[in-house]
Amino acid sequence: MSQITLLVDASKCTACRGCQIACKQWWDLSATKTTQTGTYENPRDLESNTWSRITFHEYESGGKFQWLFLQSSCLHCTNAACVDVCPTGALKQNATGFVSFERDLCNGCAYCAEACPFGIPRMETINALTGEAKASKCNMCQDRVTNGMTPACVKTCPPGALQFGERTAMITKAKERVETLKARGYPEARVYGENELGGLRRMYVLTAPASAYGLPDSPQYPVLASAWQNVIQPFGYVATALAVVGLALNWVATRRSRLNHVESLAAPAPEAPAEKEEV
């Protein structure tokens, strides 16, 4: 299967938030009641029922002001920490590269939310005492994409800031766009996500440094995320297996020596001189 990528050209985004609504509509996610806090950004953060939203940022460089808009959502890392820590298989890496999510399989442990280098998954706590919860995040419209359609947000984007397709084609497009932007007076234009964390399947064309958009400049895979399944689990199996073997050997040795022991009880006179392990 070919590798897919969703390319977000932030320089074309008009912040209409059509993608936000298309996402809610397709996935039947409820609206959130919000209050005006002096910004167009609404809602102010991702939520368990808001998987994607437009963020607004002000940036000044070289005497030039930019109002930056960005579609903030799951970046679908190729080296996805959330997939590595998920104990139930609710999060999986699709063969085409995106990170799928099965809500039914999620047991609410929140390991993914804690391991994500971008802080994307949101936990919907159903009962804090019993720990009942569900994670949620963008799943790249897994139902649409695996049936040959584009994600709902891409389908709806009026200025064509969102594009979806084969990864190498998207990378070529992104690089071309960066050159165009540079020629048009955006010297800081760049591609974000070509190599970060093995390649992000939501890749950005930016006109300012990543940090100006609220993205980490160099996202890092959390060390502890790989420790669990790669080190601790195998270590536990090996240690347990060795213990079983050790105890079994001890049992065999004990059974043999117990006979000697009973004999020595019958004739207790001389202490056996320090005779070491019987072979």
Binding site: A110, M123, A225
Partner: protein, 235 residues
């Protein structure tokens, strides 16, 4: 030293001594019950083969059982402390007191337990060095389990992500440590021929004087017999 007590059952009319008080036995079995439930339900997340159990209704039941058992687990030492504070602090003090006899025990443990040799073991207190080691590990992992467990239970989303991930890792390492000890513990009390009486002690509270003399000589002479003299003096 007294002779070996392997064939206790064959000798009737054994003098019995109280090894574990009712408080100790109840606390032990409550701890045992909580630990096995926690281990069983925790394995759903640890072992990939058990993943199906972590999903759906059984997953919800496991999640609830793990939390309920965690409360019982935290309560077990409190039962011991409140019901029998004297024995609690005595055992605690014993577990932290290590001397030449303990190192001697460790040195001879293999010969003794694998080859059934006696006579070379230094006399032990209420707990031998192995039991002390078990107790110390239980104390350390108890706090690790409780702290990291509470972080994962109530700190979700509000503690720093690194602390949460560290808690998962420490919780898992504590599981490995305790499971290894648990296996050794079960093996020694249920399988090992020299230790048959120790499980009786945990059910009925008593062991034969002979067993006590062989395995816990110091405790027998310094604590049990001295107590007995006190009783005699009073009457």
């Amino acid at each position: 030293m007294a002779s070996v007590a392997t064939d206790v059952a064959a000798r009737p009319e054994q003098a019995l001594v109280l090894r574990f008080t009712a408080a100790e036995r109840v606390a032990h079995w409550v701890h045992f019950f909580a630990f096995t439930v926690l281990l069983g339900t925790g394995m759903f997340l640890y072992v990939p083969w058990f993943q199906p159990f972590a999903l759906g209704a059984s997953g919800e039941a496991a999640r609830l059982a793990h939390r309920a058992a965690a409360v019982v687990f935290m309560a077990a030492p409190l039962i011991y402390l409140i019901w029998s504070p004297r024995e609690f602090f005595y055992s605690l003090k014993e577990s932290f007191s290590w001397g030449a006899d303990d190192w001697g025990w460790l040195k001879n443990a293999w010969n003794y337990y694998a080859h059934g040799r006696t006579g070379t073991m230094p006399p032990q207190g209420k707990y031998n060095a192995g039991q002390k080691f078990n107790a110390l590990t239980q104390i350390v992992t108890f706090w690790l389990f409780v702290i990291t467990g509470l972080v994962m239970w109530f700190g979700r989303g509000s503690v720093p992500p690194d602390l949460f991930l560290l808690s998962v890792v420490v919780h898992d390492l504590s599981v490995i440590a305790t499971v290894l000890l648990f296996m050794l513990h079960i093996y020694l009390v249920a399988v090992h021929p020299l230790m048959r009486e120790s499980i009786t002690a945990m059910f009925e509270g008593t062991v034969s004087e002979e067993f006590a003399a062989e395995h816990h000589g110091k405790w027998l002479t310094e604590r049990v017999f001295r107590k007995r003299k006190d009783v005699k003096r009073q009457t």
